[in-house]
Structure formats: structure tokens, C-alpha cells
């Protein structure tokens, strides 16, 4: 009997220290900031090293995340009298520095980004991404930032224009001196941005830019977590093929996204023997009546596929509906901007039965991370659910932060190496890059597999009720994710 007790005690003694070592120890002391205090002075006084102040920042922010009576330090140079901070023990400080490998100055680490925040860009997408970046940033900094420093996100407006993208990217890299970029909504912007990133050798993690050529040029700096146009076109075509159409009308935009997306889709239709025709429109086109009239009078399409992004797509969808040629009259795969369902219903009140391809796991398969992010996002934006581009934005920033931490430095080559080997779990699920410098793209795959997340989930969902929120749409394709049957026009 005594033996067993002794044994249990030994086991406990072994286990307890390991447990406490894994969690933050918090054996230091609380301290209320007095006049004339600054962090390096406190670090010198308590830890015997003026350079140890990032540890105070880090642990105080850790405490703040659990208990908001602690101050939240966003800039180590600024503390205020009366703030409660946490002074770690020298052991804790040492553990912190051992993890963060190195401490660089007192500044912040800058990560750049750009999203469309004004027309002709897709504003509904840009504001979603901005909110997602802000949530990710807050979380990253609450968790101690990267390399022991706070992260500063420099977010510029791309307006969806490639020329803006080039100048914004140059500004981020040369003027703001960002160490990495997590960005972009429009493909045209991504195509312009990747060139600047490549010229300056700064890593970029692309969210929501679908053009195959973005990763297809094989630049070491370029990574993408969004699906490629060809991936999405594959799902569009596979879905549309299940309807056995004889003729499909593709409504697309004259942009770096719309033109290749329509080409890839057409090729895939051709391979299946489905006839299709593409109608091009400039982004920002307002009046679609003449072309809708033409579609109506000509050969009647069995399916209309809308590849026009943002507000331009909304304009087409609503005007088609008003002309008696909308989603309630013809099967219409609307643009995925519809995933911001409030904007969609405001602009396309007659959009019932619209289908669209949704990127990312269906709601039923959300991970805890997805749910946690979704909760914050819905609270912050008031939207029904995080759209795919919001999740991609969130993941792209978090992944960049994780890569810098794993690289242990802000050296571009180190970050790129870390990204090539990254195993990241985020809102979109588990993300990694199959092909890179150590595992070249096989010959039977297209060049765009380089630094590309190869397994994004793409589903086709449908608005089945007027005013339905994007959070609870019916998944109609593919069968693995299906939650209900599609409602057809006139049904």
C-alpha cells in the first residue's frame, strides 16, 4: 500500500513541474506604473537587463488576454501611470527570449496589405477583408506579436486597379519597410503586386486572388491560400454539367480575373461537349439592359454563369431579374460576392434562387478556429457570416505571422523557407503548400501548383428563400457536402 502511495507521489512530482513549465508560470509580480517609469527601466530594476522589456510587454499582454485589469501594451514605448502590468520572473523572461530567439530593437514588425476600399474595386469584399485583418492582428498581438514585438499592419486601398496596386506595393516595401505582405482581393491587383514583391524579394501570401498565373510564374516570394480560377471553374463546370445543359451563357468582366476565368471555364465546357458563349463587360458597367435583351432574344441559355465581381455583378443580376431573365427564370450561378448577403439583398432584391460557389468549408464542417473567427467577425461587422475572402484574409495574416515566428527572423529568405514548410491551422482548415523549392511541381501538374494551397473546399450553395442569410444556405453540390436539393426556376 505504502509503495503505491510513494509511487503516486513520485509520479505527481514528475508531472506537476512539467505541467507548470508548459503553461506560463506567472510567478512574477503585478506592478502599477508610476510617474517616470518606462519599461526598460523596470526591466533593469526587476530583471537586471534593460533589454529584457519585451518580456514584460509579452507577459502583460498575455495576462490582458485573460484578465483585462492588466494593461494592453501595443507600443512598448508608451505606458501610462496607473496601468497594471506584469513583471515576469527572470526565469519567465528567459523562457520568453528562448522562444522568440531574438529581440530586435524596440519597434514593431510591419506587415503590409491592400484591399479594395473604394470603387471601382469590390468594396463589399474589401471591407470584409479589412475587418478580418483587424481581427487577426488583434489576436496576433494579444498572443505576444511576432518575435516578441507587436505587429503593425499597414493596409492600403487598391481600388481594384493594377496601377494602384503597383504603387501601393512599392510604397509598402520601400517606404513603410514591411517584412512581408498578406493581401489582395482582385486578380489584376495580385498580378501587379507579385511583380513588385518579386523585384524587391519580399514574401507575399495571397488571399482571394484567383488568376492561375499568380503562382504560375513560380516566383519564390509568392504563396497563395485561395483557390485558383481553374479550381473554381472546375467546380462550376462539374456542377453545371450535372444539369445537362446544351448551352451556357457566361457573363464575365474584362479584367485579369474575368478573362482567364471565362477562358478556363469555356475550355472545360468544350471538353464536356457543352456549348457556351462569353459576354464581356467592363468592370463598373451600369446598364446591362441591351445585353440581357440580346440573351433573351437569342438562343436561350439553360444556365447563366456570372463571373462579374462585386457591385457590377449585382447590377447584372438585378437587371436580368427585372427583365424577366433572372435567377427565378433561368438557373443562374451568381457571383460569390453574394456571400455578403446583406449587400446582395440590398442590391439584388429579386435574387432568390441565385446559386454561387462558396470557398471554404461548409458551415457543418467548421473547425473550432473557424467558429471562433466567425463569432468575432459577425460581432464586428454585423454580417451574416464570414465570407470566403474574409476567412482567407484572416488566415493569410495569421499564416504570415506564424511563418515569421517560425523563421525566427524577418529575413525574407528565412520567411520564405518557413512558409514552404508551414503547417497552418486556421479558419479555412489545415493549410500547407505542397510544391516549392524542395518539392518541385511535377510535370503533369500546371505550373500554378507552385506555392499553392492545393485542397481548398469549393461548394455550390443556393439562396432558397427571400432575404435568406448566407450563414444558412443550402449546399447543393458536390454530393460530399450536400445539405439539400436545388430549387429550380418555376418549381
Amino acid at each position: 500500500m505504502r509503495k503505491y502511495v510513494l509511487f503516486a507521489m513520485v509520479v505527481l512530482m514528475l508531472v506537476v513541474p512539467t505541467v507548470t513549465a508548459a503553461a506560463p508560470m506567472y510567478q512574477g509580480e503585478d506592478y502599477v506604473v508610476q510617474a517616470d517609469d518606462w519599461l526598460s527601466k523596470l526591466a533593469d530594476k526587476f530583471l537586471g537587463d534593460v533589454l529584457a522589456y519585451p518580456a514584460i510587454t509579452y507577459y502583460t499582454n498575455q495576462k490582458n488576454a485573460e484578465d483585462d485589469s492588466y494593461a494592453k501594451i501595443t507600443n512598448s514605448d508608451v505606458i501610462e501611470v496607473g496601468q497594471k502590468i506584469y513583471i515576469p520572473t527572470p526565469e519567465e523572461a528567459e523562457a520568453y527570449f528562448a522562444n522568440s530567439v531574438q529581440s530586435i530593437g524596440s519597434g514593431t514588425i510591419k506587415i503590409g496589405s491592400m484591399v479594395p476600399l473604394s470603387a471601382p474595386g469590390s468594396v463589399t469584399g474589401g471591407t470584409a477583408m479589412k475587418a478580418a485583418y483587424e481581427i487577426a492582428l488583434e489576436e496576433i498581438n494579444a498572443a505576444g506579436g511576432v518575435l516578441g514585438q507587436q505587429v503593425e499592419l499597414i493596409l492600403l486601398d487598391s481600388e481594384g486597379l493594377p496601377e494602384r496596386a503597383t504603387s501601393a506595393m512599392s510604397r509598402l516595401i520601400n517606404q513603410d519597410e514591411v517584412v512581408a505582405v498578406a493581401c489582395c482581393y482582385h486578380s489584376a491587383v495580385g498580378l501587379a503586386a507579385k511583380e513588385v514583391a518579386h523585384d524587391n524579394h519580399i514574401p507575399v501570401v495571397f488571399a482571394e486572388t484567383w488568376n492561375d498565373d499568380i503562382t504560375g510564374s513560380g516566383y519564390p516570394e509568392v504563396f497563395r491560400i485561395a483557390p485558383r480560377s481553374s479550381d473554381v471553374a472546375g467546380v462550376d463546370v462539374d456542377y453545371i454539367a450535372t444539369l445537362n445543359p446544351s448551352y451556357v451563357a457566361i457573363m464575365t468582366e474584362n479584367t485579369g480575373y474575368g478573362i482567364p476565368a471565362a477562358e478556363i471555364t469555356t475550355e472545360k465546357f468544350n471538353a464536356l461537349g457543352i456549348e457556351s458563349e462569353t459576354f464581356f463587360a467592363d468592370i463598373g458597367t451600369l446598364d446591362f439592359a441591351p445585353v440581357i435583351e440580346r440573351m433573351k432574344a437569342g438562343r436561350t441559355p439553360d444556365v447563366i454563369l456570372v463571373l462579374l465581381t462585386g457591385e457590377t455583378g449585382f447590377n447584372f443580376e438585378q437587371q436580368a431579374a427585372e427583365a424577366g431573365f433572372g435567377p427565378e427564370d433561368v438557373v443562374m450561378v451568381c457571383n460569390q460576392a453574394a456571400s455578403d448577403s446583406d449587400s446582395f439583398w440590398a442590391a439584388v432584391p429579386d435574387g432568390r434562387l441565385c446559386l454561387y460557389h462558396a470557398i471554404g468549408l461548409p458551415t457543418a464542417l467548421w473547425t473550432d478556429k473557424t467558429k471562433a473567427f466567425a463569432e468575432k467577425y459577425v460581432e464586428k461587422t454585423g454580417r451574416a457570416r464570414p465570407e470566403s475572402y474574409a476567412m482567407e484574409a484572416y488566415d493569410s495574416l495569421w499564416m504570415t505571422a506564424q511563418a515569421i515566428n517560425e523563421a525566427g527572423s524577418t529575413d525574407p529568405d528565412a520567411i520564405i523557407a518557413a512558409l514552404e514548410n508551414i503547417q497552418y491551422d486556421g479558419a479555412l482548415g489545415h493549410i500547407w503548400f505542397e510544391y516549392g523549392s524542395s518539392n518541385p511541381v511535377p510535370e503533369d501538374l500546371p505550373a500554378s501548383a507552385w506555392h499553392q494551397f492545393m485542397n481548398p473546399a469549393v461548394t455550390i450553395v443556393q439562396f432558397q428563400e427571400q432575404g435568406e442569410s448566407a450563414a444558412d444556405l443550402t449546399v447543393v453540390f458536390p454530393d460530399t457536402y450536400k445539405t439539400g436539393d436545388q430549387i429550380f426556376p418555376g418549381q
Binding site: L117, S118, A119, P120, V123, T124, T127, N254, E275, E277, T278, F279, F280, A281, D282, G284, T285, L286, D287, F288, A289, P290, V291, E293, R294, A297, G298, R299, G310, E311, F314, N315, Q318, Q319, E322, A323, G324, S343, A346, A347, P349
Partner: protein, 404 residues
């Protein structure tokens, strides 16, 4: 039979022959006629144009008649040949693309024309405001599209329930008109009046810069305050789609055009039957003479700018239930208005209205008939510009412009 877009076959050869015939006789008529007139010591100032059109429309027939008889060249010798020229071009088009909907489906052509007329009324209304400003103040306002944009937003916020207002659409239109007019009046008094008082050294450059500045100011103020999320109203009045024969017109467009016509009627009454309206017309015809009979040109300037802004504002309010609204919608409207007023003749009110309708119909028919279905919509604005270029080439003062 409907045309299969995938089986497009074009008879390039025969169509090209017709075109070459037209071009050949146009050149012959254009080159020979003025020489014949000059040799006979007659007025040859418009002989090139008349000869060219005569050749294009009738081949050798009319030019030979002109050379033999050399009648005095008046409108009679241009109207019929122009119509015949148009007929020749349509014939060439029909031969080129016999499966085109515009060739084999009359109802379709009428639908496209009605589409064009419906939006054309409002293009005309916007351009009317711009031409009114030009005829009275002698400046081109680069901020005109922005008044259109603001009018749409004002109507949206008054009629929609985002601010809980949810008022009658008529109040929305009224508010749009009043707000844009107020902005116009304030701007004119503060920034344009000094120009007319001779306080500005280089007035024409000043006018361009200050209205450009206003355009940016208004666009970005709206963007910063209201934001750029797309806005749209449902049709103002719950009417059904209007169907007349092969033509079906969506409610929102019918309502928009009706608003445009009512505003036009009111404007017509104002300009012709009220003292202020007559005064405005007087100033547009002759500033000094108007001043002599007791019309204060400064007051008229303010009134004209305010009214011009108001017309654009109301057009915006009429279209916010047709198109999705964003702070940049004014840009395209501005550009199109310039085309319309130059096409119609700078300063001509009737010209602006007709120009608007022409541009509306040409854009609709262009998109509807252009043989390459894929590109048709992308060339939307080009069709209007082609007509614009042709009119300027043949009649540089525009359709209803006064000779300068």
C-alpha cells in the same frame, strides 16, 4: 428561327463590295461636285458634304444630276440621300451578318430602341443641366456627374429606411432636387461669381480647375461619409412590367423615364412661360442685351448653375432605382454628358435632349447588333463615340448648334 451564336457565318465578301461601292461614289461625289460648282462660279462651300452623301446614298445617279443641273444646295439635297446612305449601310450589315437578331427580328430591334429611349431620356436630362450651365455661364462644369451621384444618394436615404425616414418617393425626388440645387447655388456664389466679377486673372482655366476640384471634393466626401457599399432602391411605385407587343419594359426604367419626362415638361413650362425662364433664355442669347433690359446676369448665373445641378440630381434620383449606386457612378455620367451636349450642339437645350436620346438608342442598338456578341457590351460607350465623331466630322457645331 433564332440565330445560333455558335454558328456565326459572316459574308465578308459581298458586304465589302457594297461598302466599297458606297465609299467609291462618296469619294467621287465629294471630290467632283465642288469642282463642278466652282467652275460654274457657284457657292461650293457645302458641295463636298452634299456631293459625298449623294454619292454614298445613290451611287452615280444623284451626283450626275447635281453636276448637270447644279441646283442650289439646301436641306432637300441632304435629307433623302442621308436616309439612303443609312439604308445602304444597313443593307451591307444585313448581308454581312444575316443571322443577326437585328436583321431577322424586328421585335427585337424595337425592344432595343425602347431600352435606349428609356435611359436616353435621363441621359438627356443630365446633359440638359450641363448645357444650361454652359449656355448661361459659358463654362463646362466637370462636377456635373457628381451632382447626379449626390441626387441618387439623397433620394436613397430619404426613401429607404436606413435612417428610418422611409418617405414617399416624390419627397425623395424633391429632396434630391433641392439638395443638389442648394449645393450648386452655394458653390456658384462662393467660387464662380468672382470669375464673373472679373476678380480672377485667367477665368477659363480657373473654371476648369475649380469645377474639377469640386468633383473630387464631392466624390471623396461622399465616399468618406456615406461609404462605398452598394445602394439601390426598389422601384418607386409598384407597377407591373409594361408590355407592348414584343417590347417589355421593366418597372424601374419606365418610372425613371416617366420622371424624366415630367421634369422636362416642367422645365419647358418654366423656360417659356415664366419671367425667370424667359430671362434665362435671354441671357443665353445675349448677355449685354439682357442686362440692358434689366436682367441681372449674376442672378441668372446662380439660378442656372443651381438648376443645372438640380436636373442632374433629379436624374440621379430617377436612376438610383435602376442601377446600383456607388460614389463613382458620376464619372461615367459626366463623360457621357459631354458627348451628349457636344453631339447636340453646345448650349442647345433641344440638342441636349435629342443628343441624350440618340446616345441612348445608339448604345442600345450597338450592344444589341454588334456582330461579335462577346465584345458587344464592352464596346458600349464606343458606339456613342463613333456617332459623335461622325457628327462632328460632318457638322462641327453639333446637331442643333448655332453657327459660331
Amino acid at each position: 428561327m433564332h440565330a445560333s451564336p455558335l454558328l456565326q457565318t459572316f459574308n465578308t465578301g459581298p458586304a465589302l463590295l457594297i461598302l466599297l461601292w458606297v465609299i467609291f461614289w462618296a469619294v467621287v461625289g465629294g471630290v467632283v461636285t465642288p469642282r463642278v460648282y466652282r467652275r460654274k462660279d457657284l457657292d461650293a462651300s457645302s458641295a463636298t458634304l452634299y456631293g459625298a452623301v449623294a454619292g454614298a446614298g445613290t451611287g452615280p445617279i444623284l451626283p450626275v444630276y447635281l453636276w448637270v443641273k447644279t441646283p442650289e444646295l439646301n436641306w432637300r439635297w441632304i435629307v433623302v440621300p442621308s436616309a439612303l446612305t443609312l439604308a445602304m449601310l444597313i443593307w451591307a450589315f444585313a448581308v454581312y451578318d444575316p443571322n443577326n437578331l437585328c436583321v431577322n427580328n424586328g421585335g427585337y430591334v424595337i425592344s432595343q430602341i425602347s431600352n435606349g429611349l428609356l435611359v436616353g431620356v435621363l441621359y438627356g436630362l443630365i446633359a440638359l443641366g450641363l448645357t444650361l450651365i454652359f449656355s448661361i455661364l459659358g463654362i463646362v462644369s466637370f462636377a456635373h456627374g457628381q451632382f447626379y451621384m449626390i441626387g441618387g444618394y439623397v433620394a436613397f436615404f430619404v426613401v429607404d429606411d436606413v435612417f428610418g425616414l422611409n418617405l414617399n418617393p416624390l419627397l425623395g425626388l424633391l429632396a434630391a432636387g433641392l439638395v443638389t440645387m442648394a449645393i450648386g447655388i452655394v458653390f456658384e456664389r462662393l467660387l464662380l461669381r468672382p470669375m464673373h466679377l472679373g476678380q480672377i486673372e485667367r477665368p477659363s482655366e480657373y473654371a476648369i480647375l475649380v469645377t474639377f476640384g469640386l468633383a473630387f471634393f464631392l466624390t471623396y466626401t461622399v465616399q468618406a461619409t456615406i461609404g462605398t457599399n452598394p445602394r439601390k432602391l426598389t422601384p418607386y411605385f409598384p407597377i407591373d412590367t409594361v408590355t407592348i407587343g414584343p417590347v417589355s419594359m421593366p418597372p424601374s426604367r419606365v418610372i425613371g423615364a416617366a420622371i424624366g419626362l415630367v421634369v422636362l415638361a416642367i422645365l419647358y413650362w418654366f423656360l417659356n412661360y415664366t419671367w425667370r425662364g424667359k430671362a434665362l433664355r435671354a441671357v443665353s442669347q445675349d448677355k449685354q442685351a439682357a442686362a440692358v433690359v434689366g436682367i441681372n446676369p449674376l442672378t441668372m448665373n446662380t439660378l442656372a448653375f443651381g438648376m443645372g445641378a438640380m436636373l442632374a440630381g433629379i436624374a440621379g434620383a430617377a436612376l438610383v432605382q435602376v442601377f446600383t449606386w456607388a460614389p463613382n457612378v458620376g464619372d461615367v455620367a459626366s463623360a457621357r454628358s459631354f458627348v451628349v451636349i457636344v453631339l447636340g450642339g453646345m448650349g442647345s437645350l433641344i440638342g441636349a435632349m435629342v443628343g441624350g436620346l440618340v446616345i441612348g438608342v445608339v448604345e442600345a442598338l450597338g450592344v444589341g447588333c454588334f456582330p461579335d456578341v462577346s465584345r458587344a457590351l464592352a464596346y458600349q460607350q464606343v458606339f456613342g463615340l463613333v456617332i459623335f465623331a461622325i457628327v462632328l466630322l460632318l457638322k462641327p457645331t453639333g446637331l442643333f448648334g448655332r453657327e459660331l
